[in-house]
Structure formats: structure tokens, C-alpha cells
Assembly symmetry: C2
Homo-oligomer: 297 residues x 2
Amino acid sequence: MLMDPQQLRTFVSVVDHRSFSLAARALGYTQSAVSQHIAALEADLDTPLVTRRPVAPTEAGVRLLEHARPLLLRLDAARADIARLRQVHPGRLTLACTPGALTPAVAHAVVRLRTTSPRLAVSVRTCGRGEAVEAVLTGTADLALVDGAAAPSDPLPLPDAGPLTAFAIAQEPLAVLLPATHPLAGRPALRLADLAAARWIEAPDAAVPLSHLRAAAQTDGFGHQLAYAGGDMRGLGTLVAAGGGLTTAALPAARHVPGVAAVPISVPRIVHRVEVLQPRSSTGPAAELSDILRPSQ
Amino acid sequence: MLMDPQQLRTFVSVVDHRSFSLAARALGYTQSAVSQHIAALEADLDTPLVTRRPVAPTEAGVRLLEHARPLLLRLDAARADIARLRQVHPGRLTLACTPGALTPAVAHAVVRLRTTSPRLAVSVRTCGRGEAVEAVLTGTADLALVDGAAAPSDPLPLPDAGPLTAFAIAQEPLAVLLPATHPLAGRPALRLADLAAARWIEAPDAAVPLSHLRAAAQTDGFGHQLAYAGGDMRGLGTLVAAGGGLTTAALPAARHVPGVAAVPISVPRIVHRVEVLQPRSSTGPAAELSDILRPSQ
DNA sequence: CATCCAGTATCAGCAATACTGATGCTCATG
DNA sequence: CATGAGCATCAGTATTGCTGATACTGGATG
């Protein structure tokens, strides 16, 4: 078979596990089958894809990985898209939210939905941006709410792994979070470019990724020595207060963090933006919630 | 096999040909095999994908199509990406251009490249935006030049079917092309929104697609009764002069079209933009040309 | 209403394939 | 140089995927 998705899945698993045998265990194959999958791919593409001992992707393997992961995601997305057509009106609603997208307005909308549909089982989970997109695509979640930074009225730069409809439900000033003792903490506003050389915290799940800032400011910089994994925003605030580095947040949410000053960004024009992501044809409670959230025009 | 690419290819072909037998002919299978492919897909996804007599995609089939085409394109792109690592044709350079991207500057760059590499065989072909992207992804072309309209310094809205590097090589005022006898033809500048209700020509290959205008102007409108297929810009100008409708072009290129007035757009801020598209790791003459074209900073 | 025709579904049979389990080989390690 | 962890290879077998023949179906025709 030519570029069989199974083979691609095996290849990804081998790279992830850095081992043929472990990948085999994870996939429920024998080691022999995995070895043959990789050999078949390498024969098909006429180039080695992984080095053995240690097991690591070659240059060609890295290229293939860049395609294989989105490809497999899209296959799952296609399956989920079609499965959704039959699944009419379940009494469940699953939301995937990035932490910064779980605003009071969203919470109120959920509560309001529960008053009109009292028997509806709603579950909310916070996760990273990529996971949220993936969840909606694969049907793990009915709706996603993601936040990020962008120029006003620009869409968020999200990975495009399939057809999704997106619309913004909130745009608020983007603020820099600094320690309250920071020399710039008292300013009424700040220019982002002046902070490009500062020490930032890269917290891609709990805050706006630095890549968004670079893209919006159209400058380099925004380097970081401190990375913060996980989705807890309070802990991130604590790090900022302790001088671990700077981060950003929507202005309203950024106030009242102990030991932290929030200063809005004046230049460039950049906003904190919350978007709803849903499958192209969403029905049932997900569509209802999306209607509640959609800005009336 | 679960969602075999071959089956997807068969499915796409069946929909395109509106016939199992014709699709079989096109793919080199028997009609029986095609029937079994479709049956297998339908069994796997547990839903009918095409109606028979006449053969047409069901709702689920339409969904699957939305995924299947990009999926198959990406598979080819992955193969091409890896093939490029080994197979460099140093003596050949193939360019795919949208007509509006073939500016004098580009032509001069090609000529300049030929003076430094006199033995280089260069071939230029004009085609639509989608084809150009596809050509670079699948390795049919080494480099693509595409034009379109966008807000200043915004990237062009191109289909994302894989990793490509893109950069702009020209940004020029975008002009509306009107018949010289048109009441607005004498104006020094025009607001795009005032023309949203006008009659436009949709010429996605030869000019900026109306969808770009809608996106850039952030309004509806820009409807058309007249569609113009093909890549010839002169013919399009003739249609405009005859009162067939309006279109747009880069301001410098739009002057001196007989019977046509070119009026720059003042609001919103919108530009005609030419971008170079190339595979992530481009080498040889393609990289040289790309270096010549890249704006020095 | 009977017939025909174009086109899809189904079936049996065969060739190609994709697994498993056993074994061989290779490199890193002490 | 002995060892062992881990990848490659091979033979055997169950499964899959194709072809060619044939049955079936809905629409057109008179």
C-alpha cells in the first residue's frame, strides 16, 4: 500500500517512542510488523526515514513528520465530521477552553444555556490551543473557545487542519503583566516594541504565546528563559510577581492579580481576542450556545 | 483498510465523473473494484456517501469531499517534499505564476538569473492561484509567484495544504478598472465600499478574486453576473471596456489598457501584493531566483 | 405494459498483502 | 570478548483486494 495511513501512524509512533518495540506495544502490533512498516515507507519514498540506534528521524523523516501529523489529524477530523451528521441531539455538551478564553461572559452564557435546557449535561475542560482545535476537529469537544492576541479585527493565527467556522466573541485591550515593583509598572500605557528585549515567560497554554506577540508586533525579540507549562493562570501571575518575567493577558482579567501590575499596550494596535470554534455544521446545544455567544449585530 | 487513500481517491473520482464505470476507467480499475471501494468506505463510515442513479454525493459525501481533496493533495506534497531532498535539478527551473504576478520586476529577475547561469533551462507557466500552490507543493514547479489583494503587510489568503515559505516582493496600490466612459472614471481615488453594489467580473485566474475584496473590505457585496475563466488579462480588460463589469489590478499594470480607466482605491487600505511561494527548503536555481527577488532590507 | 439498456451490486476465485512467531544480526556496554 | 537489548529477516498463514462473470435495478422507449 502506498503511504498507508497505518504506516504513517506507525512512523509517528516510532519517532515519538524513539523505539520500534515500544511503538509496536503502543499500537498493538509485533515489533516485526513495525519494522516492516518502516521498511515499506522507506522503500516507497526511496530514502531512510529514521536512524536506528538511536532511533531518530532523518532529515527526510522530519519532513515526513511535518506532513504525517496533520494528515492523521485530518483523517480523524473527516471521520468525526461525518459521524456528527448522524448524531442528532445528545443531552451532552462538551466545551474545550483555553484558560484565557474562559471569561465571565462565557461562564454566564453557559449558565444561561443551562436555564433554558435544564437537563443538559455540560462539561468544560481547559487545555492548550492546539488541543482545543484538535478536540473540535475530532469531535472530542462540541465547541472550543480559544484566546490569543492579534491585530484588531484580524483572526487568530490558528493551525488549519480542517474546515472550522470561527468568530470572535470578545476583543479587549491587551495588557502586559509586570511585577508591581517594576519601574514601568506605573505607566498608563506601554509600547510593545520597548519590551521586545525584556525577559518574558513562554506560557503557551496559560497565556498568549510569544509567537503571537512577534507576529502582531512584526518584530523579533520576545525571547524567554522561563517556560511555563500547564493551564493555571494564577500560578503564572505568581511567577510574574516574583520577577520571573513578563507575560500578557486581557486587561480586565489582568487586574487584581496580587503583586502584579497590568499596563495596556498602546503600540502596535493589538488586542486580546476570544474566538469560538465549531464544526461547519453544528447543531443541538453546541449551536445554541454558539448563538448565545455570537455578538448580536 | 481504514480510510485508505486509494479509496478516497476512488471516491473523489466517482464524484467527479458522476459514474462508477467512468471513474474505474480513469483509475485503471474495474467497475467492480470501484463499487467495492465505495461500499467499503460507506461501511467504514456507516453512512451512504453517494446516491446512485444519478451518482451524486450525499450530505456526508460532501463533508468527506471537503477533507479528501486536501488530504490527497497533502499526501502528494509530502512525497514531493521528500523527493526534493534528493533530486535537485540544477539545470532546470520551473516557475508557476498567476498572470498578475508576472510583473516587469519578475521578468527582469528571471533575465538576470539567466545571465549569471546561462545554461539554465527556465520555464514559466501561468495558471490560477490554487494550481500555483499545488504545483509548488507537489514539486511540479520549483517556485510560484502569486498575486492578490490584502490589507497592507497582511499575507495573502492562500489555501494551507502544507508547509510553504512565502514572502512579498511587491506591494502596489490596488486600482479599480472601469470603462473609460464610466461616471466615476475621472475620479482621483475611490472608496471600495461605494462599489460593493456595482457589477463585477469574477475572474479568479486573471485578476484578484472577489473574495479577497470582500475579505479586505470586510463587507458583503461584490456580486457578479459575469465570470471570466482563463488567465488572459488583456481579454479581461476588453470586457471591462465594453461595460461587462468592474475588476481590479495593480495600479502600474492597470494603466494604458485601451478604453479602461484605472482609479486607485483609497478606503479601505488595501494593496495589490505579489508573493513568492517556495518549499521550506529550496535549493539550487530556485533559491537563487528567490534571493534575487527578495527585497533587500 | 413489455422491453431494452446503461449502469451498479454481488459473487467466486485467485493473486498479492500484511500480519505473527522464530531466528539472525548488530551495536553499545562493561 | 562476552552479553544483551533491540532491529532485521524469513517462512508460514490468514486476510485483503483485485478481476471477470453474472445478477439486479431504474429509467427510457414504443
